[in-house]
Subunit: 156 residues, 2 copies
DNA sequence: ATACATCTTGGAGCCGACTCCAAGTCAAAC
DNA sequence: GTTTGACTTGGAGTCGGCTCCAAGATGTAT
């Protein structure tokens, strides 16, 4: 049984990306150069469709094309020579993503509070004596003032 | 008691943005034009610091500067004339963010599985008879194949 | 054979979000 | 009174991520 193949157009349709975008991803080496027909046309296989769909999914999470490369490596060929490095990179990315999730979760909470209350905002009452002279820290993210009033909330 | 004010440099330090960036945000009307000293220098107040920090936080969630504007409106002046529209926009954004969170959650799961298993990937075994000819849908996001094997997982 | 559809390449252009620079103003310190 | 430092403006440049050509090769339908 011969393996199913796809044109670039079909690939675009299957993945929701444009043909131009797929060629672009190939150019920046996000996608591997596919085989070609005799006339030079690109030939995509299931594996390629899978990879391209993965990219399309990763895009929805808002990560950069550059940051995707580790994921594409992790999914697919397990080159032993890069295991340790790849593991490190993956753990690193994991941390960032977890952070991003919690930022987003707070945003959702922020919106919910505003929607519930009909948002005549609590305002910057100028009575809290904080604010040193340090730059904002990553943890400080959780400063949305309204949220401190509320108990833990879950989404959906 | 006179209100505390800040220079652009202090504002930059407090918010983690650059002075250039702050001026840029003013130019694109993400930040309101601040008051000026007699010599033309910008004067920022607590309210402005707050707004700028909010932007800095929203940035971490990966949303675009344009998309932030509704949040900045929601936090702060409640112009009754725009309530309905603003509520709609906010709900809309909420949905998108919830979606993004779940995409990110799946990514974390993906990474965890890979890290646990030492990732000699499950591979595109070419045995699943799915793949119609439709473009990838938003829901289809949850296709990371490894994840279907696992029960629900929580982060951290 | 001529029209059309589908692909190819290379390169230009575009938008968002900065980032950098030059030239100038102003105030205080030496 | 000139040097230093913090600011101002306007505009140019950069980078990521596409998106849109134009010109050309090939394949199939009439």
């Amino acid at each position: 049984m011969i393996e199913q193949t796809f044109t670039i157009k079909q690939t675009a349709e299957l993945t929701g990306l444009s043909e131009d975008t797929i060629r672009y991803y190939e150019k920046i080496k996000l996608l591997p150069p596919p085989d070609r027909k005799d006339n030079g046309h690109r030939v995509y296989r299931r594996k390629d469709i899978h990879t391209t769909k993965l990219i399309s999914c990763l895009k929805k999470t808002g990560i950069s094309l550059e940051a995707m490369k580790p994921f594409l490596k992790a999914s697919g060929n397990p080159d032993p020579a890069e295991y340790i490095e790849l593991t490190r990179t993956l753990k690193n990315h994991r941390e960032q993503i977890v952070e991003q999730i919690s930022s987003l979760q707070q945003l959702v909470d922020f919106i919910d509070v505003r929607l519930e209350d009909g948002f005549p905002s609590g305002e910057y009452s100028d009575q809290n004596p904080d604010d040193g002279a340090k730059p904002i820290s990553v943890e400080e993210m959780s400063y949305f003032p309204q949220l401190r009033k509320r108990a833990n909330r879950r989404i959906r």
